[in-house]
């Protein structure tokens, strides 16, 4: 019995795999590293220049300096506390030494290829105060309370020193072969300086008194620690334990330095200081600057780099000279593109023989590498990377505008008022003439392209075929991104990040079409469930060709916490309006009705229940749809159903209750269905050929909560109009991570089962029952009671992998069997058909069931490699998967985002509505014409043959 079953399952799997020649045809991946926090210029061997970068997202990477491509990249554990300091690392000639897993272990990486050479245990305790230093063939690590020395190549520590108190500051200093470890303990304002001898042993600590200490306002370099106190700066020479003080005439914002130079930056001014034992602190130079300019210091040359959005100034500290170089046009390729970048935030620079090499990191995490030539005074942008995409929070896919010919057809049917048959006839003729002209123009373009490419590439047959093929592709690329393709497979992906950037990305190849920077005051909205969110709404699609599309993004002001809504054109990224509200945003939604300009307004509800609608909608326009909306309000104490009257703009509670939640319960997920999800089939056909009708309640919310005390996962389904609890299920011994997907009439969830010590998938399906219990209805009204409560079926499956993110495929009509997409921590995205994750898989298969191709219940859901939609394109730390329908019913577009971006097409039931792309039109038409011609020829031959035989 098992064997045929296995065979069926493998058959299901086989159709999902892609062929070798399809690799990279429909998909692309953008590997990212994140916002650089520490950057080192480095060299591998004698030639290849590299950048060693550790980022805020705890990624250690090596970028090729010339191209900006990732040489290698290692993704570490995300620290528990959010920090922007990045991984602490140091390097020697061959290896990189880093501290990871919250300061519990040190890792040694080979610089050339990022191979993990060794992992050393530091301590059991977690700490975010870390420092690492390598000198004299020894590795010195400080983390939390521990100070530890390893001999290189040895896994056993040479010396360990565990202090009683927690450190709040820790740093190693090396000068003239003397190595010091300087630390500050919690609650103290005293520096503890420990000298580390050549054999690794520690000398008894010395102490140095400070006025006050704040680790965040201190900067260390060479042998100094400089700390800011208002407009005063305190500089400690750790080797002599001398404290120097300097007062500026402005409040100091930040301090940086290199070598002997220290830069104290105010809003309008920078003081370049130098400390000498004889003269104390001296001002070497004083520079004026604008608040929007960023300051950096060259690490191996006494010069200061000041960048503004359009120029880079290089100021020499030694001489009185400086020069300024204009930055070239940053939007290099096409000047029409909107590319808004933020100003640089941090500057890493070095000087080589000819020019300055500068890495600029913006507030928007854009990493730019520029070179400034001393003689030609020109800034050369070598490469730029958009690293804010690592913080993607919202994604929408927008159709491209109608093509010219499609517009003509639309035009023809648009003017319905005209009844005149002759006018209509002329319009038809006109539009078809237009189509013909367009077609001819296209063909001519194509022929010219082919001819030129043939004359360029030589004249072999294969060249000819290749050029004809590429002509087909050319037409799709050259027509610009702003035209819909035949199957609407190409879209503009709008990506919003929590760093305050909005990108328009071409789904065909992952190119950036435009970029918006939402400003320095940007701050994402914080949700109740501890997510950072920047909601994005598509208010008007591009279906109305006379009107441009419209999308809006909502965030809050960092300073005032008031909500801001920015509307823009999703095709070109042009900002239409920017409005700041007078209140912080509590909840927001798209309204179901649209204005006469086809814009779906966004309703924003403030903290004190103020309502604002963008753009405003008149009561007449509203009348067409609905005048009220229902909301769910989850509080610690209980649950509340609210009703919003849009026309009178007030909110009133409708029902109240509790879900039986105790203080130990924590709500982990609340999921509704997407606003206009299409469910094509209203029921499920049973083996008896009866129908089980689906219970598709659009107002159903699935609430998952977890009880920490007795480890119960509870899933409650609440109708939020009436407050009726439709179903609730409890799963024992369940733990985080919990992921929930709510679609059609089913809820799928994943959890960690503590009992089985494995990940499990659960599915709940809701049915209204068979024919007798079902009533045909045009509207689903929650207030009209059902004859019987919904029939609930549920099932659990073992899943052999962890789950990072969970999503479900979306197609245009909802006809195709849906697939669940599960992102694994290992970087795979696994497609599980709903046929497998089904609550109705029978325990025992009868003959009739087998004939219906049903799959019997098996506790495991197999994880087969050919079901990975990203084959070998590993996608790390996936946080979300966005699916969107295409023009083809079989195809769903998928964007997975996390540390990488990955886009592909998904065909959950195979491409049933399109010919396979290896379908050979040429061969088939050749064979057909050959057959027809052959039959005619043989007919002739046969006739003459017969005649001849009769004569003879």
């Amino acid at each position: 019995m098992r064997l045929p079953l296995l065979v069926t399952i493998t058959l299901v799997a086989a159709v999902t795999a892609i062929f070798e020649d399809q690799v990279g045809k429909f998909d692309w991946r953008k590997p990212l590293i994140g916002c650089p926090a520490r950057v080192h210029f480095d060299k591998i061997g004698s030639k290849s220049d590299r950048l060693l970068i550790s980022t805020e997202q705890s990624v250690l990477a090596s970028l090729v300096l010339n191209t900006g491509n990732i040489g290698w990249r290692r993704i570490m554990e995300t620290p528990e506390e959010e920090s922007t300091s990045g991984l602490v690392f140091t390097k020697d000639k061959e290896y990189i030494y880093s501290i990871s897993s919250d300061g519990r272990s040190a890792r040694v990486w080979r610089k050339q290829d990022g191979v993990l050479v060794r992992q050393l245990t530091i301590s059991e305790e977690k700490s975010s105060v870390q420092s690492i230093h390598v000198a004299h063939g020894k590795l010195h690590v400080a983390s939390g309370k521990t100070l530890i020395v390893f001999r290189l190549g040895d896994e056993k520590p040479l010396e360990t020193l565990v202090s009683k108190k927690q450190r709040i500051y820790s740093e190693f200093f090396e000068h003239d072969d003397t190595l010091l470890h300087v630390s500050v303990f919690a609650g103290e304002t005293e520096l503890e300086i420990v000298k580390i001898n050549d054999n690794g042993s520690f000398e008894s600590p010395k102490h140095s008194k400070l006025d006050s200490f704040n680790a965040e306002k201190c900067y260390h370099q060479a042998q100094y620690i400089s700390c800011i106190q208002g407009s005063q700066i305190q500089i400690i020479d750790v080797f002599t334990q001398k404290v120097y003080k300097f007062s500026a005439d402005f409040p100091i914002q930040s301090v940086i330095g290199a070598g002997k130079l220290i830069l104290a930056r105010g809003a309008q001014k920078v003081e370049v200081l130098e400390v000498t034992p004889e003269n104390g602190v001296q001002v070497r130079k004083s520079l004026d600057l604008k608040p929007s300019e960023a300051v950096g210091i060259t690490e191996n040359h006494e010069s200061v780099i000041i960048t503004s959005p359009d120029a880079i100034r290089v100021v020499f500290v030694n001489s009185n000279t400086h020069f300024s170089a204009k930055r070239g046009d940053q939007t290099d390729q096409k000047s029409t593109k909107i590319m808004e970048n933020s100003i640089p935030k941090t500057i890493f620079a070095r000087k080589n023989e000819k020019d300055w090499e500068i890495v600029l990191v913006g507030d928007d995490c854009r990493v730019e590498f520029v070179t400034v030539d001393d003689t030609s005074k020109f800034v050369n942008l070598e490469w730029a990377r958009e690293e804010s995409l690592i913080n993607t929070v919202s994604v929408e896919m927008v159709d491209l505008p109608l093509s010219e010919s499609q517009q003509m057809i639309e035009d023809e049917f648009e003017e319905e008022g005209q009844q005149n048959i002759i006018a209509a006839f002329f319009r038809r003729i006109h539009s078809q003439f237009g189509q013909l002209c367009r077609h001819i123009q296209r063909s001519v373009e194509k022929i010219i392209y082919v001819v030129t490419s043939i004359s360029r590439d030589g004249n072999g047959v294969s060249d000819f075929i290749n050029s004809v093929r590429s002509a087909g592709q050319m037409s799709s690329a050259a027509s610009g991104p702003f035209e819909r393709d035949y199957f609407n497979l190409r879209k503009v992906i709008i990506v919003v990040t929590s760093s305050g950037t909005v990108f328009g990305i071409d789904s065909a190849d992952g190119q950036y079409l435009w970029k918006l920077w939402l400003g320095e005051t940007f701050s994402p909205l914080d949700s109740q469930l501890d997510h950072k969110r920047v909601p994005l709404f598509v208010q008007r699609t591009t279906a109305h060709y006379q009107l441009d599309g419209l999308a809006s993004v909502v965030f809050s002001n960092k300073n005032t916490h008031n909500g801001i809504i920015v509307s823009f054109n999703p095709m070109i990224g042009k900002v239409e309006s920017r409005n700041e509200l007078g209140f912080p945003i509590k909840r927001l939604s798209l309204l179901p009705g649209h204005t006469h300009k086809h814009v779906f307004p966004v309703m924003l509800i403030g903290k004190n229940d103020q309502i604002k609608i963008f753009p405003s909608i008149t009561p007449e326009e509203l009348h067409g749809s609905t005048s009220s909306l229902h909301l769910l309000d989850l509080q610690k104490e209980g649950v509340q159903g609210l009703k919003v009257d849009i026309s009178s703009q007030n909110i009133q509670p409708v029902w109240q209750g509790n879900l039986g939640l105790t203080p130990d319960d924590e709500i982990v997920a609340v999921k509704g269905k997407s606003f206009n999800q299409k469910v094509h089939s209203q029921g499920r056909v049973l083996v008896t050929r009866e129908v089980q009708y689906k219970y598709v309640n659009p107002n159903l919310a699935a609430i998952a909560s977890i009880n920490k005390a007795n480890q119960h996962l509870t899933i409650t389904l609440v109708d939020i109009v009436t407050g009726q609890v439709v179903h609730s299920a409890a799963i024992g011994k369940a733990a985080k991570p919990i992921h929930l997907v709510h679609s059609e009439n089913w809820i799928a969830y994943s959890y960690w089962s503590d009992k089985g010590r494995r990940t499990e998938l659960g599915i709940i399906e809701l049915y209204e029952g068979t024919e007798e219990q079902h009533t045909q209805k045009e509207l689903f009204d929650s207030k009209v009671g059902q004859k019987l409560p919904p029939v609930v079926t549920q099932q659990s499956y073992i899943y052999a992998q962890g789950v990072d993110a969970m999503s479900v495929s979306e197609t245009e009509q909802g006809l195709t069997t849906r697939s669940l997409l599960l992102a694994h921590p290992s970087g795979n995205i696994h497609e599980v058909s709903r046929r497998l994750l089904d609550a109705n898989r029978p325990m025992e298969l009868t003959q009739a069931m087998r004939e219906e191709m049903m799959i019997g219940y098996m506790p495991e859901i197999a994880v087969a490699t050919e079901e990975m939609i990203n084959y070998n394109q590993t996608v790390h730390r996936v946080r979300g998967i966005k699916t969107s329908p295409s023009g083809l019913e079989s195809t769903s577009l998928v964007l997975a985002y996390g540390t990488d971006l990955f886009f592909t097409r998904l065909v959950p039931s195979g491409t049933f509505d399109i010919l396979k792309d290896d379908f050979d039109h040429v061969l088939i038409s050749l064979v057909l014409t050959g057959l027809v011609v052959g039959s005619y020829v043989t007919k002739r031959l046969a006739r003459s043959n017969a005649l001849a035989s009769q004569w003879s």
Partner: protein
């Protein structure tokens, strides 16, 4: 060609065929005796012919009914699977009686004779038999699950219900 169109006339041949010359007769053969016998049989054959015609008419009328059990067996043998051969067989079984139903009159035309009369009853029985065959074929189609006679067959035509109330289920921000 009907049975009444031709007959053997033994009496006629007696005069101008070779057998009339008694010299050629085998010994002991008397053509007159044979003629007498013949004529006696010819008298009886009118009766027999009438009987035969009626029998043939009944045979034709009962034909479809008689083939029903065989059809049943064949259908049983064809099995319930939906594949090309059972479908072809069922199709044949459906179309043959249908065709026969449309050509009832032409089927009975050659059998018409004064003896059989208008053959109304025959025709009715013939029709019933064919209808029975059609019924059988339809039953077979039904058991194969090809008839759209259950709600599940019309499921995809049920439109998705709209919504009476609109609701937002989204995260709440602090």
């Amino acid at each position: 060609m009907s049975l009444s169109a031709w007959k053997l006339d033994y009496s006629y041949s007696a005069k101008n065929c070779r057998t009339s010359d008694s010299n050629f007769n085998p010994p002991g053969f008397y053509s007159s005796a044979a003629t007498v016998q013949h004529s006696a049989e010819a008298e009886r054959s009118a009766d027999q012919h009438e009987h035969l015609a009626r029998k043939r008419a009944w045979d034709t009328a009962m034909g479809p009914v008689k083939s029903l059990p065989m059809n049943m067996f064949m259908m049983y043998m064809a099995g319930g699977g939906v594949s090309i051969f059972p479908i072809m067989m069922v199709g044949m079984m459906l179309f043959r009686p249908l065709k026969a139903l449309f050509s009832v009159n032409s089927t009975f035309k050659p059998l018409e004779s004064p003896a059989t009369g208008a053959m109304i009853i025959h025709k009715i029985i013939f029709c019933l038999g064919n209808l029975g065959a059609i019924g059988l074929a339809i039953y077979k189609v039904h058991t194969m699950g090809l008839l759209p006679n259950t709600p599940s067959d019309w499921l995809e035509f049920i439109p998705q219900p709209g919504r009476a109330q609109y609701s937002i289920i989204d995260e709440v921000f602090i």
